[in-house]
């Protein structure tokens, strides 16, 4: 069921991006492909009547997200507060442009609104691209399961918990996980000693859907023998809803310990303290995670975090790339508009030129 909703959400978001991409593309390109006012009007006329129908998909996506993944919505939207409102304002400005830009034939009026249109569309494409880039790369999670993506924070400490938008069989969508690429994390030791540690995941845990949470791929999970005395909880299965927590300090890492009621275990990762080797400062702020016991047969095949690559470069590339991809849709749209215009060949020529340039650029990337 959750997988179905995930599919629906993905479909709606994709549809929105494909359809509204036309509008982005028209917005970004109409200064380039159309050289004078009548030509610009033609480009705008190609998107005018359908604009609100495209925007509907965005609204629908929001609705589906609240319904099917309320925690995801809560975590991501409030975490990306400022960036999201920038997006909303751009959408608003763009809507106003389409509404008012052509209402007066005054040259200054039209040039002003044209520039607003270009500005908001470029910003939108880059912001969506940045969002995409962030999600693809991973975004830090706070203790309350909120993405803490202040939108100019592009670099995280390597220990940071990050989240990714993924799909997994039982439907969780937000995937926070540790980057364990640094070999000095003592997971091997833990597995051997197995006395005091629990819930240190090998690489990934999942949170997100209301149907439950699953811990995925917990190969390094070790149960504290004291707490679990008498019960043999398979090390690969763990879930949790209860409320107890304790912690112990071991070496320079402090690990949380679970307490267990019936079949549930809660692990308070907030007690985790890592020391950044480079700065020597303690890094904290990990989320309180709830796990449900479930055989860890499903491997999502997630890639490990690459926290330190793709900073500015990645974001700019993905943003610009996004915008340019969208412009392709528009070029295709213009082809379908041939009945209306006088200057069609010229517009087409320029659209084709931009298309091939962007294609070349993307292939090069």
């Amino acid at each position: 069921m959750i997988a179905l909703w995930y599919g629906i959400l993905a479909f709606m978001l994709t549809t929105y991006i494909v359809l509204d991409g036309r509008n982005f593309g028209a917005g970004i390109l109409h200064w380039i492909v159309a050289r004078n006012q009548p030509e610009r009007r033609q480009v705008i006329a190609a998107i005018g009547p359908l604009w609100s129908w495209h925007e509907v998909w965005l609204v629908g996506t929001g609705g589906v997200m609240v319904m099917a993944f309320p925690r995801l919505m809560a975590a991501s939207f409030s975490g990306c507060y400022l960036a999201l409102f920038l997006i909303l304002w751009c959408v608003l400005l763009r809507g106003i442009f389409i509404e008012v830009g052509g209402h007066l034939s005054d040259r200054l009026w039209q040039e002003f609104w044209d520039s607003v249109f270009v500005f908001s569309n470029v910003l939108l494409a880059v912001l969506f691209g940045a969002a995409l880039g962030n999600i693809a790369r991973g975004v830090p999670l706070t203790r309350r399961h909120i993405l803490s993506a202040v939108f100019y924070q592009f670099q995280y400490p390597w220990e940071c918990r990050v989240a990714r938008l993924v799909h997994c069989p039982d439907g969780a969508v937000l995937c926070p996980y540790f980057d364990r690429s640094r070999s000095d994390l003592p997971d091997h030791e833990d597995r051997r000693s197995s006395t005091r540690t629990i819930g240190q995941t090998g690489s990934q845990t999942l949170v997100g859907s209301d149907s439950g949470f699953s811990v995925n791929h917990i190969t390094h999970l070790v149960c504290a023998s004291g707490t679990f005395a008498g019960d043999r909880v398979p090390t690969t299965c763990l879930v949790y809803t209860s409320d107890l927590r304790c912690e112990c300090v071991r070496d320079r890492y402090r690990y949380p310990q679970p307490a267990r009621t019936s079949r549930c275990v809660r692990v308070d990762f907030s007690a985790l303290r890592f020391v950044d080797d480079r700065s020597g400062r303690a890094v904290s702020g990990h989320a309180l995670l709830d796990y449900r016991i479930r055989p860890a047969t499903n491997r999502c095949g997630l890639r490990r975090a690459r926290c330190q690559c793709h900073h500015w470069h990645g974001l700019v590339v993905s943003g610009a790339d996004f915008g340019l991809r969208l412009s392709l849709y528009h070029s295709a749209t213009l082809l379908g508009q041939s009945e209306r215009s006088q200057g069609q060949p010229r517009i087409l020529l320029r659209a084709g030129g931009t298309w091939s340039t962007s294609l070349f650029w993307m292939v090069k990337e």
Binding site: P49, S52, M65, P70, A74, H103, D210, T241
Partner: protein, 455 residues
């Protein structure tokens, strides 16, 4: 309950209140106007008279402007559930998301798909299909309103839910949720109020052209339709829908009813205060002109019914701004009565055939159109302030529901941004509407100019 300017909950509330109040100025007109368009398209289809088509064409332009502003101001609303109300979304998203998604997927789709056809498709579609497009737009906008009202009704009077193991709400019974009695009463009341707005605007336009002496044929059409629908809708808003709404509040939110009427002491033969100023710190009404027994009768059906006073409820369940709630409710009621009066007068004149020659009445009709907007907004303020301090009545408090991770400064910043943007949007909207009105309905049938941007 004190609200302080340093309290983030306060800013989140102002943020939502401002954006939703502004947003709702536009849908209330489109929901009201949609059926006028349907009516004129239907008349045009039956009689083949071009004047109905002209009327529909003119109002479709006004409708389109309102619709577009409604869309652009409506998109932030939905996202604010995630940005400003994260805790609320996490708590009840599984339920309210049902209708929000339905609104987006069915109703809004329908509306948006047909609006293009309605405004630019007249030539291509032919009269019959163009009429159907108008029906589609009207159905879509009302369906959209219904889903939103079901969502609100759940917050006012939760139904069909269960509490999941992690403390959040889960959907237990979709039917009970969708068929929430509160939703139907509120929907009827709200849609009638939207029709009041629509008909007052249509009548005001007719009065304006009549007073100016332009577009005589069209203005007669607007005056006739506007005053007739206006009277019926004004009456329906008061009875039975407003009455049923009050009874619903009396039944499920007795504390709210007490606060709406400024009643601190409970008692039988409860009065409706026609005039009076609530003094919350002293817990009394000042200078009241009461109508004894009326509240008992209106809320519970007999004059002797016992109506609770606020003192019978713990203070932390009192609505947190009783004065505002009291005035919102009372001004709304007063305006509703005035609407009935104006429209009854106008219909009487119309029946006598003297509507177009009674200058004073035309002036009143022309200047009256902002007041339904005020009444609608105050009605919603009554509903939403009355629900306080609960976000989901009886289950979840408002000051739990905001995004605790968003700093108050961020909220203030985006609030300032919205105020600025919406001010500009408002100016543009007024300017463009005034332009359409200046061009008038008898302007040559607009052939879509390729240089003109549609919408």
């Amino acid at each position: 309950m004190e609200t302080s300017l340093t309290d983030p909950a306060f800013w989140h509330r102002i943020h939502f209140a401002f954006t939703i109040t502004y947003h709702y100025l536009f849908p209330q007109l489109t929901m009201g106007l949609a059926w006028f368009l349907v009516y004129w398209k239907w008349r045009a289809l039956r009689t083949g008279d071009e004047k109905y088509n002209r009327a529909a064409r003119f109002w479709a332009k006004i409708f389109g402007l309102n619709f577009a502003v409604g869309v652009v101001t409506g998109i932030p609303m939905e996202f604010q559930f995630g940005t400003n109300r994260a805790a609320f979304s996490r708590y009840s998203g599984a339920i309210i998301g049902q209708t929000l998604a339905m609104e987006g997927m069915f109703a809004f789709f329908l509306e948006s798909a047909f609006i293009g056809a309605l405004i630019w498709g007249e030539k291509r579609l032919g009269p019959r299909n163009h009429f159907l497009a108008a029906v589609g737009v009207a159905t879509g906008s009302w369906l959209s309103g219904f889903f939103i009202l079901v969502t609100n009704a759940f917050m006012q009077h939760p139904a069909g839910y269960s509490v999941a193991s992690n403390g959040t709400l889960a959907l237990f019974d979709l039917r009970a949720y969708l068929l929430n009695p509160w939703a139907f009463v509120q929907f009827a009341h709200n849609q009638c109020a939207a029709l009041v707005t629509g008909s007052f605007v249509v009548a005001a336009m007719g009065a304006f052209y009549t007073l100016r002496g332009t577009h005589p044929e069209q203005s007669r059409l607007y005056l006739n339709a506007g005053t007739l629908v206006g009277l019926v809708a004004s009456l329906l808003v008061a009875f039975p829908t407003g009455d049923a709404q009050a009874k619903m509040v009396g039944k499920h939110q007795p504390a709210t009813l007490a606060a709406m009427e400024g009643r601190f002491e409970g008692g039988r033969l409860a009065e409706v205060t026609m005039i009076g100023q609530p003094n919350v710190s002293e817990q009394r009404l000042e200078n009241p002109i009461p109508l004894p027994g009326a509240l008992s009768f209106l809320a519970y059906g007999t004059f002797k019914s016992y109506v609770k006073g606020l003192n019978e409820f713990p203070k932390d369940t009192w609505p947190d701004n009783i004065e505002l709630l009291y005035y919102a409710f009372h001004i709304m009621i007063t305006l509703g009565m005035i609407f009935i009066g104006i429209m009854a007068w106008a219909n009487w004149k119309r029946w006598r055939g003297r509507l177009e020659s009674s200058t004073a009445l035309l002036w009143i009709l022309m200047l009256a159109f902002p007041f339904p907007y005020i009444a609608n907004s105050l009605g919603w303020m009554t509903a939403e302030l009355g629900r306080q301090p609960w976000l989901v009545y009886g289950l979840f408090r408002t000051n739990q529901g905001y995004s605790h991770n968003v700093a108050a400064g961020d909220t203030i910043f985006t609030l300032i941004g919205f105020v600025g943007l919406y001010f500009v949007v408002g100016l543009l909207f007024l300017y463009l509407t005034a332009r359409e009105i200046h061009h008038g309905p008898d302007a040559p049938a607009s052939v879509p100019d390729p240089r003109e941007v549609p919408v």
